[in-house]
Symmetry: C2
Subunit: 327 residues, 2 copies
């Protein structure tokens, strides 16, 4: 049994808790929180909810700690700290800051002899893997990543900050004709606007100027100005009824040429269609927790990403079974 702890009990922490129930070789030992533990109620019978300060006392009672905080402020601090005590897994997803996060976590994990898997999830994560496999197999080619259809938390937040907006939900949507162009093998050059559209469902404050809100959203630099954006005004009830889920997904494509004169075209495509972005990410975190434990047993230490994990380490089955049943 691999003994698992969870730090942070939001959507992601709850998703990890659910995923653990589907993995009989792992056991949830405790959930740690920075909130008042008395106010956090979890689903698993028998696992205590404890203040984060008690983590050091669980050093020998937990094998892998799964960090379920945010990338902005939680993980940059927590992951190196916790890697001094446990094998750890996080879903750090600020792409531009991965190198420095890696360096800090690697130093801590090497120092304590633990394995720390960072940036586990689907992007970064499974999508990164597919970008890598695609590029290695078809070095003469082009890679494409499309996101959606799905809810972008950052863009939803940006809309909510517009004056007169009470609540909002933003969907990122890949442009079907762009996807088709890539699938044809023609290796098109695509602008930001050609790849994705953005759709906003907005609940306006009573009496707010909807035309101004719409114009302000569409003009927002970085977030919306470079995209064809549609804004729908709906009621609070409609938002809750039709937009309560957190679906997401996307596509990674590699299109490349082979042959002495590059006369043959190949297209590799990977796609995800997810009902719940946090639950799917949690499921990847849990598989990576197993890999961290396995790699440590084989003598590894330091920071790893999915790019470094031998795929078989993610599985509860042994190599012989995998070769017989999956290869």
């Amino acid at each position: 049994m691999i003994r698992i702890g969870i730090l942070g009990y939001g959507n992601l922490g709850r998703g990890v808790e659910c995923a653990l129930r589907q993995n009989p070789d792992m056991e949830l030992k405790a959930v740690f929180t920075r909130r008042d533990p008395a106010k956090v109620s979890i689903l698993t019978q028998g696992a205590p909810v404890l203040p984060a300060e008690e983590l050091p006392q669980w050093k020998d009672k937990i094998d892998v700690l799964i960090l379920c905080g945010g990338s902005a402020t939680d993980l940059p601090v927590q992951t190196p700290q916790c890697a001094a005590l446990f094998h750890v897994v996080d879903s750090f997803d600020t792409h531009a800051k991965i190198p420095e996060h890696f360096a800090r976590v690697d130093a801590a994990a090497r120092n304590s002899g633990h394995v720390a898997v960072i940036s586990a999830g689907w992007d970064p994560g499974l999508f990164s893997l597919n970008r890598l496999y695609g590029q290695c197999v078809l070095p003469q080619g082009a890679s494409y990543t499309f996101w959606g259809k799905g809810v972008s938390q950052g863009h939803s937040d940006a809309v909510r900050r517009v004056e007169g907006v009470k609540d909002a939900r933003q969907y990122t949507i890949p442009v079907e004709s762009a996807l088709e162009a890539v699938r044809s093998g023609s290796q098109p050059q695509l602008t930001t606007r050609q790849k994705h559209t953005r759709e906003c469902f907005v609940v306006a404050e009573e009496g707010a100027d909807k035309a101004r809100i719409e114009a302000e959203i569409k003009a927002m630099p970085n977030y919306f100005a470079d995209y064809d954006t549609t804004v729908h005004f709906i009621t609070e009830e409609e938002l809750q009824r039709d937009h309560a889920g957190i679906p997401h997904g996307g596509f990674v494509l590699r299109s490349g040429k082979t042959g002495w004169n590059e006369e043959n075209t190949h297209v590799m495509e990977y796609s995800l269609k997810l009902d719940s972005n946090p639950e799917f990410t949690s499921s990847v975190l849990v598989a990576c927790a197993r890999a961290a434990f396995r790699m440590a047993q084989e003598g590894a230490a330091g920071c790893k990403t999915l790019l470094d994990i031998p795929p078989a380490c993610l599985s509860p089955q042994d190599g012989e079974t995998l070769r017989r049943e999956l290869l």
Copy 2:
């Protein structure tokens, strides 16, 4: 520079030669053949064509030997033999015999301290990887593999053995409605007939009884009896004009549930659309040759499959670059 040798110069060997040209960290040192080397003309300037018997003399001049023979009789003998001399890569694809092939190759490679990658390609290979990742991330779910549209060599050969058939080409075609059912997340149970159809293009001998040929093909056990099969009679010219390529491809899907009550559905889909089956397989072999070399440098020995290879080992770029650019 990784020094590469090729054993066997058919479609696959030629594909490896082409792929090497796209990978500047590798160099083709020699092609070995069991035919008369004087009768084998290759594309690469400066690389000699040599009789297979001379392989032992190249022990210190080649790092990785890529084996391009067939799974039926060549590889079971060649891979263990050559693993005594070099790091090796093969595309052994007789699924049922992989465990025994692995055991023989592993013993030879461990004994000589080499890394031997077997069953590299797309199925087994990239498809196996996707079956593994899918199953590890979504343990409560179902996996599906569809092949095609593409030319099946074994089925084309079977049609050619029917009396009165001069030449033939067989395409395996996934059933679109079955794919759609899987994509819906409903986890359908599908029979052999529901998953694929088979289409045969047949050149009949002059005066042959076409009705009998068609009936014989459709009734052939294992190959066609369990499928809806279409037979088209065409001329030799049409076969050469319209069916000269060796396209293939397929789909691996994983559909699974997450959530405390398994209330959320996710679908992971991987697909390949290949103009040239052997050239794409060759491209995977070449990436695996790099991984064999890298893993050996890090102290590994023995038999490996793509399931055991840390993905980053397939790439010519270092970990830091991969994290910065791909993760």
